[in-house]
Structures are given as C-alpha cells and as structure tokens.
Amino acid sequence: MAYMPNTTDRALIAGIANCDAQALRELYNRHSSRVYNTALTYLQNETDAEEVSQDVFTKVWRSAAGFKAESQVTTWLYRIAVNTSLTALKKKQRRGIFGMINPGQDPPDFHHPEAKLEEREENKAIFSAIYRLPDRQKTAFVLSYVEELPRQQVADIMGLSLKAVEGLLMRAKKSLRNTIER
C-alpha cells in the first residue's frame, strides 16, 4: 500500500502492525534522523548509532501492535531509541571493562560528523561532557537541548513529572559547566 505525506504516524503504525513493510519505510523516512541522531549523541560512534537505529526500527516492527494510542508516535519512538541506546552503551562499557580497551566510562574520541572544522575541539569537549552525565540527566539534556523537544514531551518520554525533568536539567547543566570549565 502506498502512503501519502498526509498519512498520520498512527496510520503508519497500524500498517506496520499488519506487517506492511511500506508503512515501515515511510515511518523510517520521517523519523530515522531523530532516532539516528539520538543514538549518535548517546554512543558517540557512527557504527554503534547505525546498529541502534536498526534495533529501534526492528523493535517498532515487532511491537507496533502493542502501541498505545494515548501517546504520540514520536514520544514512543524516542522512548525506544533512548532505552535501546542506554542498553547499548551499558553493553559497550561492560565490554570495555572486561576487554581492558576502554576501562571505566571514558568518553570516546568523538567529533560530530557535521561539526565545522574550526569548532571541532569545542564540539569534542561538549559531547565528551554529555557522555559523562548520569543516565537520567543525560536523557533529559539530550532530549531538551540536542533534540530540542518541548519539556512536556521530554517528561512524557521519561515517564516523569515536568518538575522532575527541570530538576534533572538543572543538575545536568551544573555537571556540564563543571566538566567543560575543568
């Protein structure tokens, strides 16, 4: 079935639930950038971000039938992307400890692929500071300042109150300031 640009995301999810690969392709065209960029900010490695994106859309394919209509499709997608990224990150850090390649939680040597040459050092420092944030602070910060989502949507994705998200953001900003100024 062909999907028009005005087809709603919910209709696409319904199509995916009926195993329509064309609906998945359309959803991918609309949202792959969000998923890939979220994963890239967490993992700070293009290959890992690609793998996480694959996992996210595979999960969407498998669990579309269980999508609850009360939340937005983007909220649901971000929730899957954040959880999958955090799981991949934990796995990577564990592998690092056992393999003694990257012991502890040292950030990778990452430059965002779209960063300007003259801003590369600043870019590296910012992403490195984001990498060091605790999980919940990181999620609140990434969704608010990298993905630029409204605070209420960040709260919905994280399953927290608006006040709790504001608290996490305050702590995240403080940690970032300390790390970058050091």
């Binding site: 950038s33 890939y36 960029n37 300042y145 300031r177």
Partner: protein, 87 residues
C-alpha cells in the same frame, strides 16, 4: 560558557543516517523471521527425537523383562542348590 554550549548544539546540523540503513533493517526483520522458523523446526525435531528415544526405551525394557526374570531365578536356584551341599 553556557550560552556558547547551547548555541553550538542549536546550530549543529543533524547527522544524516547512512545510506542503505533501511535495507539493513529490512534484512534484519527478514532474518528474525527465518531464525524464528528455524527455531520452531529445531524444537519440533528435538521433541520427535526425544519421543522416539522414550518409545524405544519402553519397548526395549518390556522385551527384556521376560528374559531377565528366568535368568535371575536361575541364579537364585544355583545359590540355593549351593547351600544344599552343606546339608
């Protein structure tokens, strides 16, 4: 410092997902189906083998029963007859 950080993030263009990513996703979905099917076949094959082994064991046991009993009886008789020597 903070404004500079937020401006940097705000002005940073979004990274473009690599070409061919969707093809990999489609392949992964297809692979998942194949693996699931293969799993079912393996489970079915394992169940059939297990059932066959059980049936074979029961048949062998029931066939072996009559042969063992007289054998045991014979041994017992020998022992008894041995004891009888000392009477």
């Amino acid at each position: 410092m903070e404004d500079k950080t937020y401006n940097h993030l705000r002005n940073l263009p979004r990274a473009v997902p690599p070409e061919g990513l969707f093809d990999k996703i489609e392949a992964k979905i297809g692979q998942a189906k194949v693996v699931a099917l293969a799993d079912w076949r393996q489970f079915a094959a394992a169940a059939v083998i297990l059932a066959a082994i059980n049936v074979a064991a029961i048949v062998q046991y029931s066939q072996a029963q009559p042969e063992t009993s007289p054998g045991m009886a014979a041994v017992e008789n020998t022992i008894i007859s041995d004891y009888e020597i000392y009477y």
